[in-house]
Assembly symmetry: C2
């Protein structure tokens, strides 16, 4: 599929840590060719951004596309308040509601794209009852939006791994079928046997060259202890740069000196964290992770599903929530949240070409805001969204409804 | 000033705790005359709401209009992270930035009104340097929006009371000049002498027939202990129903049984709490307050000022934030946040006529959403906003720009 070449004039591309300065962006064959002042390209279509800020495509590194009811009639939440109860409720009601649903997942992906998201990592529930149907549904949804978003899948044992016989075999089948990441879930607190749990998922990761992304809700010293287990495994398996701990609620509640020590260990071992600022749960401290140069990414987590009625798929709104929750106040601090929702996600996903630089795919969005921090605070409508050089939103209006 | 009579047809007025059902609303002389199905009023202008949900005007029970820079150029935050440092930063930079500013306060009030807010309680910094200039500025701002919003002022010793000689006299001057509420600030943790602090503000409240609203950031047992002091004072002075504790961070962090005991005491003594869900600070638990029938209201707190760069003045967005932070999941729970941002605020402000009922001023807004809980989750644009029967927003567009 071909796209027209584009010259974006008068925008201010964001470079983390630097004041946004005016520069034109020339896009050819869906990639950024040149960025700089006073560009000219008579053969390209020209769009004037009139001073808007330009950001690279957003990265939602943690969501659950297979669970969503996005676009369905309002569904009152019946999940209750315990992890066990919510898992049972999710499994018990999914058939009645027709999930996993390629349609709902596709609705949500479309909304994410319109808000400027270019890359998504989605966990997919896998258990003996549902099998790989979630993988199929989300692949169908991604195919509907092919060329506008990349979706990486995680084979996720939401119902347990050691505690749910038959699940490990299904995770392996998913990886054999091309799913890129193997997931885990509270190896100690939920699955009751952390060593056996990690044996399975790191074993599968080594066998299939997969990445690892472990949900870790466990709080306090139980959670912190498992950070250590995962870091050790990562070192032992040589999977540096390919392992992420999602939620990591224990991290946000630790004393500052322990946070710093763990962040240093994460950085050294190449283990990332992914935080979503869900409800009242502790947020992984962005300044600590930044100071340690540890990888940190953000995600929307569940969106309009049986777990939570909340969410709209807008990663810029989620960046705002994370920044607000983590009390990021100075502009440079607020930009850490922007960086986590863009470059941080690209690092966790292992994207080779990403960002506002020559050679990278032209995934970007533009908003009217005075500074990058002001854009996080005000969550403006997307004035322009480009995915792989294609115009998705122009003048605030969807250009290519799916 | 006269306003046209209005017949709103086809809307679904919200009654807390009941499913929203279709009913027309007849408005005469700025007040709701009748609510019911199939109304007719040939002499009134008719507006079709096409199934939209209708809510009573929002109540922002805790904000700081005098501090805001709303509408000013983006101002990077320099406040730092300690209460003392932020107070010093706020005092040190206000002159340079031209605050308190009737213009910025008026800008923010205009935005609040467009989002459906009908009643505002604003704390106003009072200290020997600034004197009563904040009172004057916010009164001028309120005058600009007269007839579209009611603004109640709190004489607030932001810089300390016992620790800042001369402030008590200025609070008294403000009350003598008609300010309706006397404020306080961490009687123990910041002002260092809780008994003397409460002596002053309850003494002034009795002398001037004023209400009381005390900022209480103090955490843990120090905060909880002061709940008891304030409850005792309220009983001793007969000020039941006229005292509020703002923020009350200690409340959200207490064990459930202590929360319940305190909520019962608050209800019995007629002391309210006001929560804002700021950053990572604990939220006053809505379900506990509801079960105890204790008064609870919500506010935006600081908006785009020297304390925080965040905020947009939208109380429906803040209701969403509070509900999300307090993990309100079932529809009936989510409606507790709506109730706190409407009827709860009206209770704390002591409004005699409020709500969607005959005789009440026609302060209301309409949004497109399936259910009240869905409106909280999606924070839709305001389709219609009426203040005192006047159309402020119609078809999503501001009808009366100020």
């Amino acid at each position: 599929m071909t796209v027209n070449d584009l010259l974006l004039t008068g925008g201010r591309p964001w470079v983390p840590g630097r004041p946004a300065a005016a520069a034109d962006i020339l896009i050819r064959d869906g990639r950024i060719e040149t960025i700089g002042p006073g560009l000219s390209a008579p053969d390209a279509d020209t769009l004037d951004l009139a001073g808007a800020l330009v950001f690279p495509g957003l990265v939602d590194t943690h969501c659950h596309l297979d669970k969503t009811l996005f676009g369905a009639p309002w569904t009152p939440n019946t999940g209750g308040r315990t992890l066990t109860g919510r898992i049972a409720n999710g499994e018990g009601r999914r058939a009645e509601l027709g999930i996993p649903s390629a349609e709902y997942a596709g609705n949500l992906l479309g909304e994410m794209i319109r808000r400027g998201t270019a890359h998504v990592r989605s966990h997919i529930d896998i258990d003996p009852e549902i099998g790989l149907r979630g993988v199929e549904a989300v692949r169908a949804a991604a195919a509907r939006h092919a060329g506008r978003v990349d979706v990486e899948l995680v084979a996720f044992p939401q119902g347990g791994l050691i505690t749910r016989p038959g699940t490990a075999e299904l995770l392996e089948a998913a990886l054999a079928d091309g799913v890129q990441v193997v997931g885990g879930l509270d190896p100690a607190g939920y699955d009751r046997d952390p060593v056996a749990h990690l044996d399975v998922i790191f074993g599968l990761a080594e066998k299939y060259g997969a990445k690892v992304d472990i949900h870790l809700h466990d709080a306090g010293s139980l959670g912190a202890w498992q950070f250590g287990l995962i870091i050790e495994r990562t070192r032992a398996t040589g999977l540096s740069g390919r392992v992420a701990i999602s939620h990591a609620y224990a991290m946000g509640a630790l004393p500052a000196d322990e946070q710093r020590r763990i962040a240093d260990d994460l950085a050294e071992a190449g283990v990332a964290m992914v935080t979503c600022a869900v409800g009242d749960a502790p947020v992984v401290p962005l300044r600590v992770m930044h100071e340690a140069s540890a990888a940190l990414a953000l995600g929307n987590d569940g969106i309009r599903d049986l777990w939570t009625p909340y969410g709209d798929g807008d990663m810029l709104r989620r960046i705002n929530t994370v920044a607000f929750r983590d009390r990021l106040l100075a502009d440079a601090e607020i930009e850490l949240a922007l960086a986590a929702g863009t470059y941080g996600g690209a690092r966790v996903l292992g994207l080779e070409r990403y960002g506002l630089e020559p050679g990278a795919p032209a995934d970007l969005f533009a908003v009217d805001a005075e500074t990058p921090a002001a854009a996080v605070v005000s969550v403006p409508p997307r004035r322009l969204v480009l995915q792989r050089g294609r115009i998705v939103v122009r003048d605030g209006t969807t250009a290519q409804p799916d």
